[in-house]
């Protein structure tokens, strides 16, 4: 009797020993100027880990099992590091997480400049890095062996916005000739600006204004003044949240009235609408995620419900983007049946997650063999209507028709 008890105990103990933890490093700006975004990304990551580690009836990879089944139910643990938005911290924190905390993979870092240095470190140390929230095209142009990107990049987004204009013309006959390009003056904005100008030329539009500005400006009347005199049909704006708020207020104040305002990033942050409220209506933003995707994908609603239950607010685009990276990694590690970095990288090359197992309008997740960019990543366009983000393009996945042209400021309530 005692012997069998002992045997059970030993078996139990060895099973427990197999119940190990897989550490993944996450570098984000958790304090500093852009902390509210960093914390938003963290929310997405934490929810993903909950789902992977627990048992949920969801069509997401590894949701229905607790932990990673091929590794004895091992659980994912995220080790966070604060970059404060500084590229040098991105590098040192990535190194610390790998060498001291012994993480087997990395995610993060939202700001492309920080992702650059952090991934340089992971490339040096041969650790896989799966990024789902930095959008600079240069990150995958480097063709690093250990760096993978799940989400679309700004080049794709810029092209989308021009494609929309062509589609709009075909559908409604509304033509556009002149485009103004406005962007904040750091790595993200200037790359986006470049992409905008490239596609404007390719699609045959006339760039009448090309304005770069400092994101934390005290005032933007000169910039808006220049926009007004250039008389564009459409404004393309790449911004962070602070400048998005300031520009919206100034557009209204100075009566800037293009036919459409199409934007990136800042306008889709939850803080933006909370700040500007109804003044944000009718702005079009590029997005990888919108709550109304739930119409065609019930998974989105279920995930948002979980998000709401955990945090009391709806899932935002940032949280949604960061949400996917842990799944991609966990799924690859599970398939590789190992936490050895080379095995994970091999598994990532073979990743082929179907679109209905994601919360995005993509065909799936599969990495290009050279650049490691997800070939199916694409964006959609949402428009703010009644202070909600509504998918308006591609037209066949739209949940509501686009409001175009941009209604007069003075005629709105």
């Amino acid at each position: 009797m005692a012997l069998s008890l002992l045997l059970v105990l030993v078996l139990f103990a060895s099973a427990q020993a197999q119940q190990n933890v897989i550490k993944i490093g996450a570098v984000y700006p958790l304090t500093g100027n852009i902390a509210s975004t960093g914390l938003d990304c963290k929310r997405g990551v934490d929810l993903a880990v909950d789902i992977i580690n627990g048992k949920y009836d969801l069509d997401l990879p590894l949701a229905r099992s607790a932990g990673l089944p091929n590794l004895g139910g091992a659980k994912i643990e995220i080790v966070y590091a604060d970059t404060k938005g500084d590229p040098k911290n991105g590098m040192s924190e990535a190194e610390r997480l790998i060498t001291s905390e012994k993480v087997v993979a990395m995610i993060g870092a939202y700001q492309s400049a920080v992702t650059k240095t952090a991934s340089q470190m992971t490339e040096r140390l041969r650790i896989p890095y799966v990024c789902s929230d930095s959008s600079s095209p240069t990150l995958t142009e480097r063709e690093f062996k250990y760096f993978f990107r799940v989400s679309p990049h700004d080049d794709i987004f810029a092209r989308d916005q021009f494609q929309f204009l062509k589609d709009l013309e075909k559908k409604t006959g509304q033509t556009v000739h002149n485009v103004a390009v406005l962007y904040e003056n750091t790595e993200f904005g200037s790359n986006a600006g470049k992409a905008y100008k490239k596609y404007a030329a390719e699609f045959g539009y006339n760039v009448v204004a090309d304005i770069a500005y400092a994101a934390n400006a005290t005032d933007v009347t000169s910039e808006v003044g220049k926009l007004i005199v250039s008389k564009p049909d459409v404004l393309m704006h790449a911004s962070y949240i602070t400048d998005a708020i300031l520009f919206t207020k100034t557009f209204k104040e100075m009566g800037f009235q293009p036919k459409g305002i199409m934007t990136m990033a800042g306008y889709i942050e939850p803080g933006y609408l909370a700040a500007v409220k109804a003044d944000g209506n009718f702005v079009i933003v590029r997005s990888t995620f919108a709550l109304d995707l739930a119409k065609n994908k019930p998974l989105v609603a279920k995930v948002n419900d979980l998000f709401r239950k955990k945090y009391g607010i709806d899932m935002s685009e940032n949280a949604a983007r960061s949400f996917m990276a842990p799944f991609v990694l966990a799924e690859a590690i599970n398939r590789a049946k190992s936490t050895d970095p080379e095995a994970i990288v091999k598994a990532l090359h073979e990743t082929d997650i179907p679109g209905n197992q994601t919360i995005y309008p993509w065909k799936g997740i599969k990495f290009d063999p050279k650049s490691n960019q997800n070939i199916y990543a694409r964006g959609t366009l949402v428009q703010i209507q009644n202070q909600e983000y509504v998918t308006i393009w591609p037209f066949d996945s739209a949940s509501k028709p686009v409001v175009w042209p941009f209604p007069d400021w003075k005629e709105r309530k």
Partner: protein, 321 residues
Amino acid sequence: MRNFTVRQIIAGFAILLLLIAFPLVVRQSFHIHVMILVFMFGMLGVAWNIMGGYAGMFSFGQAAFFGIGAYTSSYLSVTYGVNPWIGLLAGGCAAALVASAIGYPCSNLRGHYFAIASIAFAEIVRIVFNNWKRVGAAEGLSLPMQNESFAGFLFNSSKLPYYYIMFAFLLISLAVSYFVTTSKMGYYFRAIKESHKIAESLGVDVVLYRLMAIMISAFLSAMAGTFYAQYILYIDPGSVMLLATSIQIVLIAMLGGAGSILGPVIGAAILIPASEYTRVALGYKGTGIDMLIYGLLITLISMYYPEGVWKLFVRIGRNLR
């Protein structure tokens, strides 16, 4: 010339040996990284000291020189394949040139005005680099990860070479600082700091010596900039030309003890680990507690040790006699 007792010399050597042995004993790369930053900021503080602590020109724009050094060597390396060590010297010269161009008109500005002028100047440099397409503008410059070599100033497999190189740079800057203090130049600097008018009446060419102080300071800061570029392999105006970095340099020099040779190094040895380790321990929560502690530390030290923590060490040093 100061006379050191045997005990003090032994103590000095002991510290030197400890620092040399440090990365061989402590293998965790993060701690080595912190020490590298300590050396780098120590050097920047020593460079600032030559202008500020000795000659009384409180510059809040050192990051501009740091950045010019980083950009010069990186641009030359990436575009023309120029060896980074040569780029280092080029960067130093470029910074010294810019320093003299700005220093000449500013040479008769007093304390606060000089400080604000230095901020204005540094911000102009940052904005220009942020828009200058040739050097990458806002996207910055990425240095390619090539094979490691000493000649190429690039090491991949270990941090140790970076550690020792930065340590050597620091010693070089300390030597320069020592030379400046003990030479006639240093004497003139102190006279200028005390009073322009008196120095002038004594026949000291105030403008010339102020310019020399600025140029030396700029050259050393630029050296640190090249090191940074070769260490991090990515620079952009937002990371190497920040006002916050300039401010940090002043804090380090002042809290350690402006006007003393080793003061800035002590300042770096306190402030850098303080900010790095509090960030690691507390930063990830996102509540800003680490910065609260940092701010508190700065406030308390300036209240109770306004001459710098260096004075404390001097007392300990005296007790060793």
